[in-house]
């Protein structure tokens, strides 16, 4: 019998705008986590910030490569959240797809690696890989626009990957 994967842990579908979304009390019984965000803003553009365990320190070193309307870009950054280094846009323009993989999230003897794919067909595609400097198990994940609010209809689905 194949081992089941993508175990659905929690889901958020916004029936009204929200400044931020968060998943907490994440059990330690899986190997990896996957957060699929299909989201947009109520207005304007903004960067998107993913954080673990409420950590807003400069603990998310990463490298990225990007193709966007303004051209190609890449580099390394160390910021106070996981950032795809691109902008999400308002819902009337396009919803973006943000697929965040967090490997070995429940271990307590290593820093956590992550891979983020950020896609907006009308603007950019970005790959970001990095680590969170915390050694605690990831017990919460939040997704927050740097400015503005998540639009109605935005969805955020958290899955556990069984080892």
């Amino acid at each position: 019998m194949p081992t089941p994967t993508y175990i659905p842990l929690a889901t958020i579908t916004l029936g009204s705008p929200a400044a931020s979304v968060s998943f907490g009390s994440i059990p330690t019984s899986y190997r990896d986590l996957v957060l699929i965000s299909h989201a947009a803003l109520t207005s304007g553009t903004s960067a998107i910030l993913f954080r673990f365990n409420g950590d807003s320190g400069s603990n998310y070193p990463s490298i990225y490569q990007e193709a966007s309307e303004v051209g190609l870009a890449g580099g390394n950054i160390n910021t106070t959240a996981i950032r795809p280094s691109g902008n999400i846009n308002e819902a009337s323009t396009e919803f973006g797809i943000y697929a965040l993989n967090i490997m070995d999230y429940s271990t307590t003897d290593k820093r956590k690696s992550f891979l983020l794919r950020s896609n907006r067909a009308l603007y950019s595609t970005i790959m970001t890989v990095g680590r969170w400097n915390g050694t605690s198990a990831v017990s919460s994940v939040s997704a927050t626009p740097n400015s503005g609010s998540w639009a109605t209809g935005s969805t955020f689905n958290l899955y556990g990957i069984v080892s």
Partner: protein
């Protein structure tokens, strides 16, 4: 995640067609191991929903370890690339396509990634953000050869999976 269907190429078709897709999942995942008969190193892979072959936008970057290309298309369908006839023999490449919220009555956004591998120094990774403006629920998915319309060779396989969101294990949300 649940397997919906796997299609195996026979060498006589340029399209993998998944039809009558159950309307019971949240997202779709399409993965494949493919090779095309086109007389070139690679062949483009197109994606279409519900037999609608229009309304595309996609932005990709192509990387081969030396050069990165920023590619945008407004009326040409490119979600991935495939190994083809002049790439190293017996090389089948992989691709992955993710479609969130495939049942919603909104335009469909898609993420795609693939890598064409060969020993002749012409490998390439393609990462794509894709949009198709159909608003109906997806009931049919076509993965097709879109550069030359040539057939997928026998041994190529593509699988469609359904992923269901939900709640389990006491995770809280706010």
């Amino acid at each position: 995640m649940k397997l919906i269907a796997t299609l195996n190429a026979t060498g006589s078709s340029n399209t993998f067609l998944f039809d009558n897709i159950p309307q019971t999942f949240t997202d779709l995942l399409i993965v494949g191991s493919i090779r095309n008969a086109n007389s070139a190193v690679r062949e483009g892979v197109g994606l279409a929903f519900n037999s609608t072959f229009s309304g595309y936008s996609n932005r990709s970057y192509f990387g081969n370890g030396a050069t990165i290309v920023n590619n945008v298309e407004s009326n040409y369908n490119l979600i991935a690339e495939s190994n083809a006839a002049t790439s190293t023999a017996n090389f089948f490449n992989n691709f992955e396509i993710y479609v969130p919220n495939y049942r919603r009555s909104t335009p469909k956004q898609v993420s795609g990634a693939s890598v064409v591998e060969t020993n002749i120094g012409d490998t390439r990774t393609v990462v794509t953000a894709y949009l198709q403006t159909i608003t109906a629920a997806i009931t049919q998915v076509s993965v097709f050869s879109n550069t030359n319309g040539t057939n997928w060779i026998a041994g190529s396989t593509v699988s469609l999976y359904g992923i269901t969101a939900g709640s389990f294990g006491g995770v809280t949300t706010s």
